[in-house]
C-alpha cells in the first residue's frame, strides 16, 4: 500500500505524467523521428499503445510529418491511427465540448470537415491494418462525431474487439456513443457496461465503464432545482446503482491484481468521485491513496473547477481517514 499523501501535494492532471513512455515518445515526435516513435509504440501493449497514440495526437503541427510518413509507407498502422486521432482532435478543439447552443454553424461545418479528413485516413488505415485496435478506436470517435449511426458504430466496435478483446480505450468510446444523447439507450448502455466489465480480466481498469455509465445516466436525471452534486448523490444512492458500483470496484480497483495498466488513473479518479458522493470515507481514501497525487479532470469537472473539487474531496477523504 502506498503511504498516505499529505494534503499539500499538488494535484497533477496531466495524464501523460502517469505514463513514462510518453516522455521518449513525445521527444521522438518533436524530433520528427518516426522510427523512434515506432520503437516505443511497438513495445507497448495494445491498450497502452492506443492510449499513447491518443495523447500523442494532441501534439500540434504533426499532420504534414505524418502524411509524409504515410506516403512513404501507407501500410503503417501507427501513423494512420496517430494522424486520424490528430485530425479528430483538431476537429473537436474547433467544435469544443460545449453544449450545442454555444457552438456556431461554422464551427460545426469545420468540425465535420476535419472529421471527414480523419475518417478518410482511417478508412485507408483500416484497409491495410484490419486488426489494429487503435485504428478502430479512432474510428469509434469519428463515427460519433460524424453521426454515422448505431449499427455502423457497433460494426466498428466488433472489428476492434476481434482485434483485441477488452480494449478499454475503445470500450470507453462505444460507451459514450451508447448514451441516448448520441445513438443509444440507457438499456443498451448499462447492458454493455455490465457485460464488458464481467468479460474483462479481474484487476483491470474496466470497472470504470460501470462508473461512466452511471454517471452519464445520473447527469441526465438531475432535477431542475437540484445541483449536479445533489442530483448525482440521489442517483448513485439508489440501492441497485450503489451495489453495481461496488461490485465493479471489487473487480477492478479493489482487486489484488489491479495494476498501473492503461486507464488506471481514470478508473481510480472515477471511483473516488463516486465514493466521495456516496460519503464512503474509507473507499474514497483508498482510491485517492492509490492515485498518489495524480488525477483526471473527469468527472470532477462536472462539479466545478476540477482541481478544486478534486482537492476538496481528497482532503475530506484523507482527513477523515486520519
Amino acid at each position: 500500500m502506498l503511504p498516505a499523501m499529505s494534503t499539500e501535494t499538488d494535484v497533477v492532471f496531466d495524464i501523460a505524467a502517469a505514463y513514462p513512455d510518453m516522455v521518449p515518445l513525445r521527444a521522438a515526435l518533436v524530433a520528427r523521428d518516426w522510427p523512434g516513435c515506432r520503437a516505443v509504440l511497438d513495445a507497448a501493449g495494445p491498450m497502452e499503445r492506443t492510449g499513447l497514440l491518443r495523447l500523442l495526437g494532441e501534439e500540434p503541427g504533426i499532420e504534414g510529418f505524418l502524411r509524409g510518413v504515410l506516403s512513404e509507407d501507407p501500410t503503417d498502422g501507427s501513423a494512420s491511427a496517430l494522424l486520424g486521432l490528430h485530425l479528430i482532435h483538431i476537429g473537436w478543439e474547433i467544435r469544443t465540448g460545449a453544449r450545442a447552443q454555444y457552438v456556431s454553424r461554422e464551427q460545426f461545418r469545420r468540425f465535420r470537415e476535419w472529421l471527414c479528413r480523419a475518417e478518410q485516413v482511417l478508412i485507408d488505415g483500416a484497409a491495410f491494418n484490419p486488426a489494429d485496435p487503435a485504428i478502430w478506436t479512432a474510428r469509434l470517435l469519428s463515427a460519433r462525431g460524424l453521426g454515422v449511426g448505431l449499427a455502423e458504430t457497433r460494426r466498428r466496435y466488433d472489428r476492434m474487439i476481434a482485434a483485441d478483446a477488452d480494449h478499454l480505450p475503445g470500450q470507453i468510446q462505444l460507451l459514450q456513443s451508447l448514451c441516448p444523447k448520441w445513438v443509444g439507450t440507457w438499456e443498451l448502455l448499462h447492458e454493455f457496461a455490465r457485460e464488458a466489465v464481467a468479460a474483462a480480466p479481474p484487476g483491470g481498469a474496466h470497472g470504470v465503464l460501470v462508473v461512466d455509465a452511471h454517471l452519464e445516466h445520473g447527469l441526465e436525471e438531475i432535477g431542475p432545482e437540484q445541483s449536479v452534486a445533489h442530483g448525482l448523490i440521489v442517483y448513485l444512492s439508489q440501492e441497485a446503482v450503489r451495489a453495481e458500483i461496488y461490485q465493479a470496484a471489487q473487480r477492478s480497483i479493489g482487486h489484488p491484481d489491479f495494476a498501473r495498466g492503461q486507464g488506471w488513473i481514470r478508473a481510480l479518479s472515477g471511483f473516488a468521485f463516486c465514493f466521495t458522493l456516496l460519503g464512503d470515507h474509507r473507499a474514497a481514501a483508498a482510491a485517492f491513496r492509490q492515485l498518489n497525487g495524480l488525477g483526471t479532470e473527469y468527472p470532477w469537472e462536472w462539479l466545478g473547477d476540477p482541481e478544486t473539487e478534486f482537492r476538496k474531496a481528497r482532503d475530506w477523504a484523507l482527513g477523515g481517514a486520519k
Partner: protein, 563 residues
C-alpha cells in the same frame, strides 16, 4: 467446339451441348438504345413477335427456345416472319401481356442522366401511346439481318430454319457519356439498400474482381458483421469494351448504416490491394469450373453471339480458360483501384458518404435561366421562370433547370401540368396551380418542345394535383428548436404526396425481380414520375434532407465530451 456458320445472311454459332437442343436469335438493340419518350418499345416488340417472351437487356434483345429441331426452327422462323410483318392488331394484346413489372435500377440514371444506359432507370411511360408507325420504324432500324446473330446448342443447325429478316445495318455500341462531374460519387437511395457500381475495362480480371467483391461483401457484411441480409454482385460486359460491375447489399432491419460502412470498408480494402492470392485462386477455379459447365450446356453461346455483334472475336473454351487462369491478385487489385475511382455509391437513406471521401452527385441545376418569372401562389419562395432557352423552377436555393436543347422528354397531363426531363436527369415541373399565370408557361413549353419528346399522360385524380400551401403551413423563418421537426413533417407529407412512393419504388426496383403484381398500377404514375427523376420532388426532398441533417446535428450536440 464452336462452329461458325451463316443462316440467310445472319452469322451463326453452333456447338454440341448436353440435353435437348436450344437456340437463340439476338439483336444488337436494348434499353440503352431507347430514348425516354420511346422507353419500352424494344420490350413491346419482343412481346409482339413471340408468344414466349425473350429478354431485353441494355444492349441486346434475344429470343430463345429449347426443344426439337423442328420446334426450334418453327419458333425462330416465326419470330422473323412476325418482325417482317409486325401484327399491328396484336400490339394491344402484347401490351397487356407485359404489364408485369421489371426491376429498374436507379444507378444508370445517376451516372448517365436520361440518355443511353441511363434510360433503363426510367419507367415505360410511352408504352400505352406507342403507335404502329413507331413500332415499324424501330424494327426497321434495329431488328435487321445485319444486326442479328444466331446461336444453336446442338449438333447441327435445325433443318428448315429460315431467318427471313429485313436488310439493314449493323448498329454500333451505344455511346455512354457520364453526367457525373467527379467520382467516386454518391447519391441517396432508399433506406435498406446499399449499392455501388463502376465501369472498368472488360476483361477476365474484371470478372474475377466482381466475384471476389461478392465473396468479401458476403463475408464481411452478412456473415461477420450481420449488418446485411444479402449481398451480391453482377458483371455486365458491354459492347464498347467496358464492363459494368454492380454490387448490391440488402441491410438487415435497422442496420442500413452498418451496411454502408461495411461496403465502404470492403471497397477500400480491395483498392488498397488487400487481395489474397489464395482467394483469387479459389475464384479462378470456380470460374473455370463454371465456364466448363457452361460449355457443356451450351450456355457460353449467347455471350459469343453478342461478341459477334460487337465485332469481337469468338472465344474458344480453352482461350477463355487461359484468360481466367492468367488472372493474378495484382490484376484484381488493379481493377479494384480503377473501379474505386470510377465508383458510384447509392447510400441507404439520406446520410450520404461525404465522410468516406465520395463526392455528392449533382441533385439539381447550377444555373437559373433568363426569362419571365412567375411567382408561386401564396409561397414567395417558389418561382417558375420561362425563357427562350428553357424552364427553371426555383424554391429557395433549390434549382431545377431544363434547357430546350438538352431536353430528353416532357410528360404532359391533360390538366396542363408538364414535367420536363433534362438529358442530365434533372427535372423541372410546371404545375399550373402553383404559380401565377402559369398557363402561359404551359403554352411556351408546348410551343418549344417537339412532338417526338412529348409523352401524353393519363388524367390525374383531383387529389393528385398539388394545391398552393396555405400560408399557415409555411414554416416560420426564425430558427427555433422545433423548426426542423415541423419542416420535416411538412416535407415528409409533401414527399408522400408529390413523390408518392418514389423511394419505395426504387427499393423495389432494386430488390424485386419481375412480379405479377403490377407495381406500376399500385403506386400510381405520379410516384413513378418522381421516382425516375434526380430531383426527387423539388418542393420536398431537399427540405427533408436539410431538416434531417439539422435534427441529427442538434441531437448529436447536446453534450459531447470527447473522452
Amino acid at each position: 467446339m464452336i462452329t461458325r456458320l451463316e443462316v440467310d445472311g445472319v452469322p451463326a454459332l453452333c456447338a454440341p451441348a448436353d440435353g435437348p437442343m436450344h437456340a437463340g436469335l439476338v439483336f444488337r438493340v436494348g434499353t440503352a438504345d431507347e430514348t425516354v419518350p420511346v422507353r419500352g418499345i424494344t420490350r413491346l416488340i419482343e412481346h409482339l413477335v413471340a408468344d414466349v417472351p425473350g429478354s431485353t437487356g441494355p444492349e441486346h434483345t434475344y429470343f430463345h427456345t429449347r426443344g426439337t429441331p423442328t420446334e426450334i426452327a418453327a419458333f425462330l422462323s416465326g419470330v422473323c416472319t412476325a418482325l417482317r410483318n409486325p401484327p399491328a392488331e396484336r400490339i394491344a394484346a402484347a401490351r397487356q401481356r407485359m404489364t408485369s413489372v421489371r426491376d429498374r435500377d436507379p444507378l444508370p440514371m445517376w451516372r448517365y442522366g436520361a440518355r443511353s444506359h441511363g434510360v433503363a432507370s426510367y419507367p415505360e411511360w410511352a408504352l400505352s401511346g406507342l403507335t404502329d408507325d413507331q413500332v415499324r420504324d424501330w424494327i426497321t432500324r434495329w431488328f435487321t439481318r445485319a444486326n442479328a446473330a444466331l446461336w444453336v446448342a446442338g449438333d447441327d443447325l435445325p433443318e428448315g430454319l429460315a431467318l427471313d429478316l429485313p436488310d439493314g445495318v449493323r448498329q454500333p455500341a451505344p455511346t455512354a457519356v457520364t453526367v457525373l462531374p467527379a467520382t467516386p460519387a454518391w447519391f441517396a437511395g432508399s433506406d435498406g439498400t446499399a449499392a455501388w457500381d463502376t465501369v472498368v475495362r472488360r476483361d477476365a480480371g474484371a470478372a474475377v474482381f466482381a466475384t471476389v467483391l461478392e465473396r468479401r461483401l458476403q463475408h464481411e457484411l452478412r456473415d461477420r458483421a450481420g449488418v446485411a441480409e444479402t449481398a451480391r454482385t453482377e458483371y455486365e460486359p458491354r459492347a464498347d469494351g467496358t464492363a459494368r460491375i454492380l454490387a448490391l447489399a440488402e441491410a438487415a432491419a435497422g442496420r442500413s448504416d452498418g451496411t454502408l460502412g461495411g461496403l465502404v470498408d470492403v471497397l477500400a480494402a480491395l483498392r488498397a490491394g488487400r487481395i489474397d492470392a489464395d482467394e483469387v485462386g479459389t475464384v479462378v477455379k470456380h470460374t473455370s469450373e463454371g465456364l466448363r459447365d457452361a460449355e457443356c450446356r451450351g450456355a457460353r453461346l449467347p455471350g459469343q453471339a453478342f461478341n459477334l455483334l460487337a465485332g469481337r472475336a469468338v472465344q474458344t473454351l480453352d482461350e477463355a480458360l487461359a484468360e481466367v487462369r492468367a488472372v493474378t491478385a495484382e490484376d484484381v487489385a488493379a481493377v479494384a483501384a480503377a473501379g474505386y475511382d470510377a465508383g458510384l455509391l447509392m447510400t441507404p437513406g439520406t446520410g450520404g458518404a461525404d465522410w468516406a471521401g465520395y463526392t455528392a452527385a449533382p441533385t439539381m441545376s447550377e444555373a437559373v435561366l433568363d426569362g419571365r418569372t412567375h411567382r408561386g401562389r401564396g409561397d414567395r419562395n417558389l418561382r417558375l421562370i420561362s425563357g427562350a432557352q428553357g424552364i427553371s423552377v426555383v424554391e429557395g436555393d433549390v434549382v431545377g433547370t431544363v434547357r430546350y436543347d438538352a431536353c430528353a422528354a416532357v410528360l404532359a397531363w391533360p390538366d396542363g401540368a408538364r414535367q420536363l426531363i433534362g438529358e442530365d436527369a434533372v427535372m423541372a415541373r410546371v404545375e399550373p396551380t402553383l404559380y401565377r399565370d402559369a398557363e402561359q408557361v404551359v403554352h411556351d413549353v408546348d410551343q418549344w418542345i417537339p412532338a417526338r419528346l412529348r409523352i401524353d399522360m393519363p388524367p390525374r385524380d383531383r387529389d393528385r394535383i398539388p394545391q398552393p400551401r396555405p400560408a399557415a403551413e409555411i414554416p416560420e423563418a426564425e430558427v427555433d428548436s422545433r423548426r426542423p421537426l415541423i419542416t420535416l413533417l411538412i416535407a415528409g407529407m409533401a414527399t408522400l404526396f408529390v413523390v408518392a412512393g418514389g423511394l419505395g419504388v426504387l427499393t423495389m426496383m432494386l430488390t424485386q425481380g419481375p412480379t405479377e403484381a403490377g407495381l406500376f398500377g399500385g403506386l400510381g404514375e405520379y410516384g413513378l414520375v418522381a421516382s425516375a427523376s434526380i430531383l426527387f420532388g423539388i418542393f420536398a426532398g431537399r427540405i427533408a434532407v436539410d431538416a434531417a441533417a439539422e435534427l441529427r446535428r442538434q441531437q448529436a450536440d447536446r453534450i459531447d465530451r470527447n473522452p
